[in-house]
């Protein structure tokens, strides 16, 4: 039987607001432990939440980007559980009335992924378990808590199980990440924890539309790692069904520090969070004017730009440019489109230069001359494209002896100095061409245009 994977994602992103979701503590990644706290985010008795208006706006903006409906009335709930990272004993989150619902997100391959919802909530504090084993609270000698993160605004995006391969899931995540970064609502950096995601995976016979038991994959630290994890999980499930077994609903916790470690498995316990509409907050009723104004602020999104670029390039190249944040530079750099795109995605990408620092015209000149410059010199020039006042001209002039008039005497000199090799060549040992090229290069310190040298040598040797 042929099996088809069914994949859904739950993505959490930290919003890039100045202050926390329900108090006015500053948000600063890497600040000294517990230096960004106040009675509200430490849940002192009697303190009350006051929602961050900017976080609400950012969520609506994201809702528009995901083509969601922004609801007329949204409600915050309390989600209860006891854990030291949760100061109030409950998290304020949106439950059955999220702010954004029923969206869709188009991928470069033309497919669309349903967005079930995007809702706003607060992040928990950070626990550090000391002693014991495995960095878990069970068995730890003591647990230290850093409340700086407690109350960070967090958007949770839940997709429909519309993704059909690990590769597609990876591309979805890349495009979504690029989208939130460009909207300016999040850094979405996995290393900083400002982007986290869980993956739900199940499989079914191809052509069927049933939904079978799914497993949840947690703690993956990169998109590539996730793709591999999904791939492995699909194979595992196929193995189980094909040997007559049943997949069990469980959670697979990966070790973010060790990709090759097998994930820890745990049964999904039916937790009772005792949801309660948050009585300290009035329902959130976003004004229609605000919602429309934010719709108007939406920039051209990565998805749309991929579609546009795919007309002149192929989809993969277009997607690569956009999700790597290089497409705006691409559009400014003059020259043959595919060549520019290839250089940007390959040699230039390897330099790590910030696209914003680059003079597109100069880069265009450099790319145009790439075949006339030795590889090493070209790379060196690309690396310098981010420097202030970079001029391609300098590398072209310094690096290349381009003029036939300049090279001709050198070529003649080399031939005159090696008469026996010239005879051998003319006698049929055409492999000696490389030897002559090498000699010319030696004479010029590697600065001769190899193409031109080749042409000149062939011509002279023919005679």
């Amino acid at each position: 039987m042929k099996w088809a994977p069914v994949i859904g994602l739950e993505i959490h992103i930290h919003l890039k607001t100045k202050t926390k979701m329900f108090c006015r503590c500053e948000l600063e990644y890497g600040a000294e432990e517990n230096s960004r706290t106040c009675p509200v985010c430490l849940a002192h008795p009697g303190t009350l939440p006051v929602p961050n208006a900017r976080a609400i706006e950012m969520t609506i903006l994201l809702g528009h980007a995901l083509q969601c409906e922004v609801v007329e009335r949204s409600v915050f709930h309390r989600k209860h559980y006891f854990y030291p990272d949760l100061p109030k004993g409950y998290q304020i989150s949106q439950y059955d009335q999220p702010l954004c619902v029923n969206g869709r997100f188009a991928l470069a391959d033309g497919s669309e992924v349903g967005i079930t919802r995007a809702h706003l909530e607060e992040d928990a504090a950070k626990n550090v378990h000391m002693g014991g084993s495995g960095g878990r609270i069970a068995g730890a000698d003591r647990t230290l808590v850093d409340y700086n993160r407690a109350g960070t605004p967090l958007v949770e995006i839940v997709t429909e199980p519309d993704l059909r391969s690990s590769e597609q899931a990876k591309r979805f995540l890349q495009l979504l990440r690029q989208t939130v970064v460009e909207l300016g609502i999040s850094d979405a950096e996995m290393e900083k924890g400002s982007l986290r995601f869980d993956v739900n995976v199940s499989i079914r016979p191809e052509g069927s539309d049933e939904l079978r038991t799914r497993t949840e994959l947690k703690n993956m630290n990169s998109f590539n790692f996730a793709a591999k994890g999904i791939e492995r999980e699909i194979k595992r499930q196929i193995g189980i069904y094909e040997s007559g077994g049943e997949v069990e609903q469980e959670t697979l916790h990966f070790d973010p520090g060790n990709e090759s470690a097998p994930p820890l498995r745990s049964k999904e316990e039916a937790q009772d969070y005792r949801y309660l509409p948050e009585p300290d907050l009035v329902p959130l009723v976003p004004g229609r004017e605000l919602v429309e104004r934010l719709r108007g602020e939406l920039p051209e999104l990565p998805g749309a730009r991929i579609a546009r670029l795919a007309d002149e390039l192929d989809t993969d190249l277009a997607e690569g440019l956009v999700t790597s944040g290089r497409d705006r530079l691409f559009e400014q750099v003059p020259g043959e489109r595919r060549a520019v795109a290839n250089v940007l995605m390959n040699q230039w990408a390897a330099t790590g230069v910030d696209p914003a620092a680059v003079d597109a015209d100069e880069l265009g000149k450099l790319i145009e001359a790439r075949d006339r410059i030795p590889r090493a010199a070209f790379t060196e020039a690309l690396e310098a494209t981010g420097e202030p006042g970079f001029e391609a001209e300098r590398y072209l002039a310094d690096g290349q002896i381009e003029a036939t008039a300049d090279l001709e005497p050198l070529v003649e000199h080399v031939l005159a100095a090696n008469p026996s090799q010239v005879d051998d060549y003319r006698g049929g040992k055409e492999g000696l061409l490389g030897f002559f090229v090498g000699q010319v290069m030696k004479e010029t310190g590697g600065r001769a245009n190899p193409k031109l040298v080749n042409e000149l040598l062939r011509e002279k040797l023919k005679a």
Partner: protein, 468 residues
């Protein structure tokens, strides 16, 4: 020497204005009175020796966070907890120059109707120390009635201002939900909690309400007052339509002496020029109480989750995190909070939510509509505040349901978010009887006017007989 038993807050303002006494001198006089009588009454949990402010001193219920002054909510789980910030109402009092006399006793986390649930021992009624002052703001009520404070703030979730005011012969206002900030008030049931004054006169209550009311950016559920607070002057009730809801006046368990005193007050309304008629609130009275005992414990179980021994308050338990939570909470909470946490946790459980909390919220809408209909016909509704006068200590501690019934008349308007003013309307067997005045949302000025006119006509002496 100041007669702290007789002095009203308004009179104290007069003394200060005429430089006959300073705020500090008054503060001292009340501390002296506390030294004299609080051994018997136990109205205070904490007193403040040196307080700032040139105005009339004030006592605050111990759920009101006061910066640097221990705030326990009557619970061991907050023993030694000193807030690092002032609640908005405490800040309002400071800004108005009211020196803090101290923090008053209460039922633990404001859960109770007699102040016997305090982890720090009960408060006694100044009219008869063998009896309870009511609750949960019993400490504030006993302090004012016993001459240990000219006025005080309490909090009212299900009658916790109105009922002790009634049992101690005082004026108590439970304001419209959303008019007084809850920021810094140790939360019991967030959708019902409201801070309000306990005073000797209606005008004092209006003065104090004026100081604490208004929108607070730190409390999203507050609103701007639609009109400024007016001090009542009028001494008649001409043009007012006063409704007597049958069920609130004929409920089972209302003592005959209470009914008689209330009947006399209703007669007085007529004499003062009001138009009096009967009305009915069948569902509000039948369902108000059960509905309250689903909503309040549900919210309480959530609000009390933060007391886990991690960040403040005592911590117990030597084992793992779970053991620490369990032991800290087992030792820290008394029986009543535990009872309500269990009730509330159950009511919010998956599968029960719709049947309990969800259903109670729907019933609340029914109650709101029923009151709204009655208040279309009448300007003010009138009833006893409490079915009984102050009862002896220990009389109801073994029977939580009997204790809960003490608030059966005070709860229904609370469920509708309405303001209620309790004023003393006479004595029954030598103990004060409270009269409850209920108006539409934001009708505090109307309630003050009605209460003031009745107060003048009744001529109740708020100094307990045995202390005169």
């Amino acid at each position: 020497m100041t007669d702290t038993l007789r002095l009203t807050a308004e009179e104290a303002m007069g003394l200060i204005e005429r430089s006959e006494a300073s705020g500090a001198e008054l503060h001292r006089a009340y501390l002296d009175a506390i030294g004299e009588r609080d051994g018997e009454l136990h109205a205070y949990l904490t007193t403040v020796e040196a307080a700032e402010g040139a105005g009339v001193p004030i006592a605050l219920k111990d759920v009101i966070s006061t910066k640097g002054v221990e705030t326990t909510a009557g619970s061991k789980i907050l023993a030694g907890y000193k807030p690092v910030f002032d609640s908005t109402v405490a800040a309002c009092c400071k800004e108005a120059g009211l020196p803090l006399i101290g923090k008053t006793n209460l039922d633990e986390f404001a859960m109770g109707s007699s102040t016997e649930n305090s982890a720090y021992g009960p408060t006694r009624n100044p009219w008869d120390p063998e009896r309870v002052p009511g609750g949960s703001s019993g400490g504030s009520a006993a302090a004012v009635a016993g001459g240990l404070a000219p006025w005080a703030l309490g909090s009212d979730t299900g009658g916790s201002i109105k009922q002790p005011a009634a049992l101690c012969g005082l004026v108590g206002l439970r304001p419209t939900y959303g008019t007084v900030s809850r920021y810094g008030i140790v939360a019991f049931a967030s959708s019902l909690d409201q801070v309000g004054p306990l005073t000797k006169t209606v005008r004092d209550a209006a003065f104090l309400y004026r100081i604490i009311a208004g929108r607070d950016p730190l409390d999203s559920t507050t609103v701007d007052l639609p009109e400024p607070v007016e001090l009542p002057e009028t001494e008649d009730l001409k043009g007012l339509r006063i409704g007597v809801p049958r069920e609130l006046n004929e409920a089972e368990g209302i003592e005959p002496g209470v009914s008689e005193a209330v009947q006399r007050a209703i007669e007085l309304c007529r004499e003062l020029g009001a138009e009096v008629g009967e009305t009915t609130l069948p569902r509000s009275v039948e369902f108000g109480m059960p509905c309250y005992y689903l909503i309040a414990p549900s919210e309480a179980s959530s609000n009390l989750a933060r007391y886990d021994g991690v960040r403040y308050g005592p911590r117990s338990g030597k084992g793992d995190i779970r053991e620490m939570y369990m032991q800290t909470r087992d030792e820290g909470f008394g029986d009543e909070p535990k009872r309500r946490i269990m009730l509330g946790t159950y009511a919010l459980s998956a599968g029960y939510y719709d049947a309990f909390y969800g259903q109670a919220q729907k019933v609340r809408t029914v109650i709101r509509d029923e009151f709204a209909a009655a208040l279309e016909q009448f300007d003010v509704l009138i009833s006893p505040t409490s079915p009984t006068v102050a009862f002896p200590l220990g009389a109801k501690t073994e029977n939580p349901l009997a204790m809960y019934l003490s608030d059966v008349l005070a709860i229904p308007p609370n469920m509708a978010g309405l303001p209620g003013l309790s004023i003393p309307c006479g004595l029954s067997e030598g103990l004060p009887v409270g009269l409850q005045l209920i108006g539409p949302q934001f009708s505090e000025n109307l309630l003050f006017r009605t209460g003031h006119a009745l107060e003048r006509a009744i001529g109740f002496d708020f100094v307990p007989e045995r202390l005169r």
